[in-house]
Symmetry: D2
């Protein structure tokens, strides 16, 4: 990764752009002024939950991560526990324990999630990560939650299909064409949401009890310039990895360009179809990851206010 | 619970107020118009993460729930896995698996969380809850995420202390006095945030390696009228259970009045001191629970935009 | 279940046979004398591990239980943790955390595992089970580990096949024919091991990347008399449920006859092919479940000494 | 660790003694002949479970590992799930999911558990361990379960106390004095069980709601010669780490001498008092770890047959 440059102009990379100690990357663009302006993107006040259901079945899961599990910690069968605290008969509390892979379902990547050339964002060594304590730098608790103006580019809708074919390499030109057709501008610090239709394909295939394809539509290498030119704060999509699968170039090539080199937060498996169905082009977008100390990411249910 | 009334006026309860099938309770007050108006509460655009760290140590944990665990699913030591997919040397991904009790740390209660007289909100039977599938009604996925105007009542600050003494019963009059002194109005559909200072007490005590007290300051029974009179959408606080411990009346008495009878969503263990320190009185509040199918609650990192 | 009789002769059921408070069922047959005699079954001293690998892949998993997960708790990357305790450079410890469904893989059922007519073994109410604390009666910690003489009936081998076809209903006559051909006697308190070849079928099918069939060979209803006539202490097999799938009669019919009515411990997914390959007919069998308080079963690696 | 020698005589280490590829260490001593002879140690046929309860409370837990959790996967509340498979009313199954740190409670160390000089047993590199897949060499599935003759040295009982004081350094001479007084011989391939009384101290202290001490009685450095002279196959004790805490020498010094240099399997937190109370001096000992692929250890419930 010889291009993780000593220059920090966004073109070759953002390392150093917000200081040698920075762990938030492009979320630094979301200054209070930018956030305040973003609240003006709300037109209707309609609230959208962009997270997938968290459940054992019905959502995309990579087997090595295990499916999410909601386990009952207490229920009505435990009422006698409460009686010991003076509870009246018929009174009790239901509680859960969750077993969740951070990168299954709808989730946000921490800047420590991917490394290249043995370095994570801002030049920290990938070898500082430890099994027990996780990431000493760029953990999900360092970026934390954020809010900003999001622009939805419904690439599938723009191309007149329910979903892009698996393996479709979305180009920078595709994004620009979609943006222009939508008549929406993109500003520095915006959050880009790209709808490929993947989750609709997934639902369609699994409803037929078929296996979803390995290949996925997503951003190709040529979209990096688009993201950089607009100096975006974050990128989200409805597919598993933002980027096209198989990867366009090396393993995790778009992650490396955006997350590693530029510290641009990525959010995956977003439920974007309801926004698209309502014709939403811009909205206030709020991402609120769990502040897991040393965490590499978080399951998340981003909120859009249109 | 003879007062879970056939009348549904908020005074004796909200069952039926939003229909016999309603599972969202007072969050129904957050209509798009109300949400759109709430965005006007933003003055500075400063974003606050109101969630506690999710970590094995340093935050309040009830032992029967177990402490949160971040476990490493993949790290730099697994690089050979990526090589099988064509990754270049030095390229890889760190991932986590989380084991989390839904009601530890900062969390949001689903309306199915508590039952009384063997019924949850809106008269559903508590016995419909199942170990494997959780709540068929009023699960956390049914309320989902929401946004609205929040008003912070810093009761500890108003009383000139860092924290209220453990066991302090905050009354409706205390809330009104605090509100009046702050000069802030409360509107139907607002989210009430009550700062008791508990988390600061917890931090102080545990820094001294002492055991935190069992008793906690919190809302007493007399605050129910305050909440009902203002027709609030949700209530959050920095303590473990919104309500005072020991409970003011029966086991979970304030939960029963607010959550069970009125379907008012409760959010606990909020980090409110930074908002108070900045003198924030109102803000846009966004709560984004994980949409756990059948879930009784969710760990959460609410976002406030001041 | 009108036949869970007031008589307790093994024919109609064993409730009350070892006292009204008994929670060990037929393991009571394994008196010290019987165990001491069982040590005489050893001829070669060769030790067999009868447990399947515990791993994310490659072994039978029912999806609702989730696959087993070994997660790294500490590793060589955490060496600095040890340094705080004075460890020399290059010294450390690797540790795991396990997430295991008790009834995946090779496992032993507790007597509380199945209920019929709302009762578990010995007439305890199925409704006493609680989410948080599990089984107050007949939990796996009550039966505990045991040792005894096991007799292997290799039904597949006796029939000259690698495995019985999925759905094959093994009859009492099949067992007797196999026993007679092997020339091995069965005594009161023995442990019966039945080899169907199912795990070999599973391995064969999954090696071809095919889905294993739903149906499984196993014990049919007519084997109950065989087990009762010989007054056996426990029954193990290499399939998922001891009994044939689809069930021979009602849901879990053989579990109900053996486990519920007679308190006969069942052990499933045993790796029996190496024993069969060596021509072992009898052995000392040791089952050592984890003593999980209130547990409904335990993953297990039974040991056979031939 | 300059003494992990090219000589492999047990004195300076066992690396290479059973071949360069060996992953079982001193368990190789447990040949079928040795095991067959071990069955002669049984005199009464009485079976002892040497495992602690697996429960959230009441047993020793190091906080960084989290307490064990038994979670209900299915219960009587899920009966409708079974009805879908044709279950009669009142019929169902209770199942658990377990979350267990491998080295809490009674457990067996895999030979990969500890490393020194960046090497595990037999000279494999400690750096080959990976977060996702665990140990490629010397995982618990490689040693597996075993059986042999165990000799109990009740050091506390021999010294006339209920338990040795925390921090007591048991010497080789202490072991020899205890053995001689017991009049029991030790043979190559035996399993040594050392009772310090620690679990009784733990029970006594926690019953008084006091915090158990950090220090523990256990084997000091001088016991290594005793173990080596007798060419033992495994060592178990009732304390947390076999060895005295604080360590006698460097961090994990006895682990390094026995487990790392000599491949001697260690089993900790054994419940030995019932054996001692019955005056058992030798027995058949069966250890049956879960065969966790790549695992660093396993919770275990060893069985002794006296």
């Amino acid at each position: 990764m010889t291009t993780t440059a000593d220059t920090a102009d966004g073109r070759t990379g953002n390392w150093g752009r917000w200081g040698a100690d920075d762990e938030r990357g492009s979320l630094n663009l979301l200054t209070p002024d930018v956030v305040l302006a973003a609240t003006q993107a709300c037109r209707t006040g309609k609230v959208y939950n962009l997270g997938l259901p968290v459940a054992r079945y019905g959502t995309p899961v990579f087997p090595y991560r295990g499916a999410p599990q909601r386990l009952t910690l207490t229920s009505q069968t435990d009422e006698a526990m409460n009686a010991a605290y003076g509870a009246l008969p018929g009174v009790g509390a239901n509680e859960d324990l969750l077993v969740l892979a951070a990168h299954n379902g709808t989730h946000m990547d921490a800047l420590c999630h991917v490394y290249a050339d043995r370095q994570i964002y801002n030049g920290r060594s990938a070898d500082d990560f430890t099994s027990h304590n996780g990431a000493p730098f760029c953990g999900i608790e360092k970026t934390g939650g954020f809010a900003g103006r999001a622009v939805l580019l419904d690439v599938a809708g723009h191309q007149g299909v329910d979903w892009l074919e698996p393996g479709t390499n979305i180009t920078g030109d595709d994004l620009e064409a979609c943006r222009a057709a939508a008549g929406v501008d993109l500003r520095a610090g915006d959050i880009l949401l790209v709808r490929t239709g993947w989750l609709d394909l997934f639902a369609d295939v699994t409803a037929k009890m078929e296996e979803p394809p390995f290949m996925q539509p997503g951003l190709g290498a040529s979209t990096v310039d688009f993201v950089v030119d607009h100096d975006l704060a974050a990128v989200g999509s409805d597919n598993a990895a933002i980027e096209v699968i198989p990867f366009d170039g090396q393993f995790l090539s778009v992650h490396i360009e955006l997350l590693v080199k530029r510290g641009i937060t990525l959010i995956e498996h977003l439920v974007l179809t309801p926004l698209a169905a309502d014709g939403v082009k811009e909205c206030l977008f709020v991402a609120a990851p769990l502040l897991v100390t040393g965490g590499t990411g978080s399951p998340i249910n981003p909120i859009a206010i249109a």
